[in-house]
């Protein structure tokens, strides 16, 4: 599965939740949810299926509290389809491969940069946030106690994080300028993911299936 073109994987992951929402619940939504769960199981029962089920489980509980068994089933099946599809997608599609596919499809260098830079910046800043928390605690900052004390601690923790991140913007801009990144420039991908007419047809087929399901739901079922 992971050898498929990134756009095919995206189309599959997007069409399953869409079909689950378009088709009447719970019966109609059950098929896309089962397909999503099977895909997750095929990608790895412990690595993919289990996290998907653990992510979906609290929603079933919350839905039972609010809507009882009938509402829980109707919403829960659709939510499970959405969660399982996305967890599966993240497991089988490395972001770098998606960026290569976007570049090969003609997306500009800035778009590819935004996607790649975001994915690399988030873990770095999260790590920095944890370091700031530890450093401020070493200096005696107490982040517990009364609400006022907690808000003071929030300011002391958040301000250095945000300011240091903003100071990074100049360094990043300089690096991008020196690499000649500008709007309208196209990059040549080093290893574009292989695509095929069959996969392109499959993607259009999924789009068509969603449109037909929507039309059937709106026109014939009211």
């Amino acid at each position: 599965m992971s050898r498929l073109h990134p756009f095919t994987l995206l189309a599959l992951a997007a069409s399953l939740p869409l079909l689950a929402w378009i088709l009447p619940a719970p019966g109609g939504a059950l098929a896309p949810a089962c397909v999503a769960l099977l895909l997750a199981a095929a990608a790895g029962p412990r690595r993919v299926l289990l996290p998907a089920l653990l992510t979906a489980a609290p929603f079933w509980l919350f839905l039972f509290i609010l809507h009882g068994v009938t509402g829980m089933t109707a919403y829960g099946v659709r939510l499970t389809a959405m969660i399982a599809s996305f967890v599966w997608l993240v497991a089988v599609l490395p972001p770098a491969r998606l960026v290569e596919a976007m570049v090969a499809a003609g997306w500009g260098a800035p778009s590819a940069y935004l996607f790649a830079a975001t994915l690399s910046a988030v873990p770095v800043l999260r790590q920095r946030a944890r370091r700031i928390v530890e450093a401020q605690r070493c200096r005696g900052l107490s982040s517990r106690g009364s609400p006022a004390a907690r808000f003071r601690a929030l300011r002391a923790l958040a301000l250095p994080l945000v300011l240091s991140a903003l100071h990074e913007v100049d360094e990043r801009a300089l690096a991008l300028e020196s690499r000649g990144l500008a709007a309208g420039h196209r990059r040549t991908p080093l290893a574009p993911p292989p695509d095929s007419p069959a996969q392109r047809s499959a993607r259009w087929g999924l789009v068509l299936a969603c449109v037909l399901a929507l039309a059937w739901r709106l026109v014939w079922r009211g």
Binding site: F59, G71, L114, R150, L176
Partner: protein
Amino acid sequence: MSIRLLALIPVAVAINLALSAVVDATGLPLFLDTVGTILASALAGPVVGIGTGALTSLTNSLRNPTFLPFVAVQVIVALYAWGAARAGLFRSFRVAVPTGLGLGIIAAAASTPISYGIFGCSTSGGVTIMTALGRSLGLSPLGACFFGSFISDFGDKAVSFALVATVLHALPRRTAARFPLALRAIGGGGRGAAGPA
């Protein structure tokens, strides 16, 4: 879009997603997942803010796909923050906090149809409890859902606005002047490292 503004977007997204570590440390019932979006809009305008918001929802959905449908709320936050920055509403806490409370109401109104239609108001434990409380108070299902979203968004957006006002005032004036809206957002004249009054 200039290279500097392009470079700001991933940084602002990372701010949105990294502040959860800070919130966890304080144990406050906040998300602060729109601080980067508000900051990007206040510094650089709506395009950068909307880009930050959309990319935040997309990146967050890689971790938990239930964030993706709320991309519309991030766009509304970006537009509201841009308007607030143009009007200089980050000039002091006295102005920024009520402006943030206003955003809390708008964000709750925008997220309610999404939360109700897609998640049956079960987006988190807190929202579920508040929605159940609203139902027990006799509110309609949609009204109870708005009540749950409102309680969770109201304070969060006020604190987010206050935090962004603090950051804008703490930015060195030379750094702030590199972004098109920063000085206007704080009322035309930055005061160096002094905090908002």
